[in-house]
Symmetry: D2
Subunit: 120 residues, 4 copies
């Protein structure tokens, strides 16, 4: 599988099959999945906690560390898909809607090179 | 856009165009993005913090709350894609690899109906 | 040490001595410490992610699990104190001020038995 | 109240009285409190997400921002105390024990100026 050819629904199915085969839907309440997602996001963050923002860019050149980060990112995606499955949320439509909202909230003219209002 | 027809690379492009138009790659170090991802995951969790696991399943029937959760989940996905873009990680391949690892770690026979070793 | 007799400043000193002995103030920027705190909070959460809210109360009766949770809670407190040290924040005064704000935000009459506006 | 004279038990009592007056113990299962703690830690992190580690040190000189961070840190402490109350954990003893473990895990000789094994 690769991002060029894989549709979201295919990834959702991979996760759904895994969960169903283990009868894990009983544990996959949205509350529990939101915790699992936050926990995986924290494990991802762990790889960057003591290094500078510059050094975190250099991590892409370290195959060992990149491979660990890649695995944590997969975990985050896995629970994102699992939560979408449980709540019947179409992720592509949700992202499209949110990006439209973001376009209005962060107009290019005003936010080019600035991350927020306080970053003058 | 919908999950049935949208490929991962299309979603990645949506995010990448948004970021580049605002010249935000300068802020999007992996360290910062991992923080952003954890923050969005926490905002998602906020909707479930005081309710029971059972009530969290019922949230799918409340259009107002579901719409809020949908938006937070889109934020989580957005930063997942942004981080994949910065580190050149193919998410579909990463997920496929991780699920294979999970298959070995959680054999169906042993984990059917059990979430972990301590859940006898 | 015990909570009955230990003052906040004593705990802050314990952490400060540990950090200074290792010359770790260089890593203890508020940004990094806020990440460390969030990571420890996630590790604490891990112990509760797949169980019900009721079962999480029963954890107090399981000495093994309680001891693990106790250690994670100590880690959270440790980084809370470290951040207070770095930013020269008096925690007792900060808590006192916040609880006064909370008294106004959540009047007893209105919130007795209700966790928020939507919990009618 | 200030850290020089305030004992941990006094802070615990402040939180306990607030919770009991609102009959909120019913919501304060350890599971829910661990989520609340992680959410507050994320809100704290939000103040640092887009700035460099160096700039995060300068935040102490900005009274407005420092006051916001102070309030988030109070929230983190508040839920730490609430969780200690629910599980009957003595925080001072827990911290003392954990720091002894840390002394053995991170000997000064080996870790002076280094945050971890990979930081050669």
């Amino acid at each position: 599988m690769n991002d060029q050819s894989t549709r979201l629904s295919e990834l959702r199915d991979v996760v759904q099959r895994f969960v169903q085969a283990r009868d894990w839907n009983q544990f996959h309440s949205p509350k529990n999945l939101s915790m699992a997602l936050a926990i995986e996001a924290a494990e991802l963050m762990e790889h960057f906690q003591w290094i500078t923002t510059d050094d975190s860019r250099a991590l892409a050149d370290n195959p060992d560390k990149l491979s660990q980060v890649r695995e944590e990112l997969a975990d985050v995606l896995c629970y994102t898909l699992a939560l979408a499955n449980e709540l019947n949320i179409d992720l592509s439509a949700a992202l499209e809607d949110k990006m439209k909202k973001n376009e209005l909230k962060y107009p290019v003219k005003q936010y080019r090179g600035r991350y927020g209002p306080e970053d003058a």
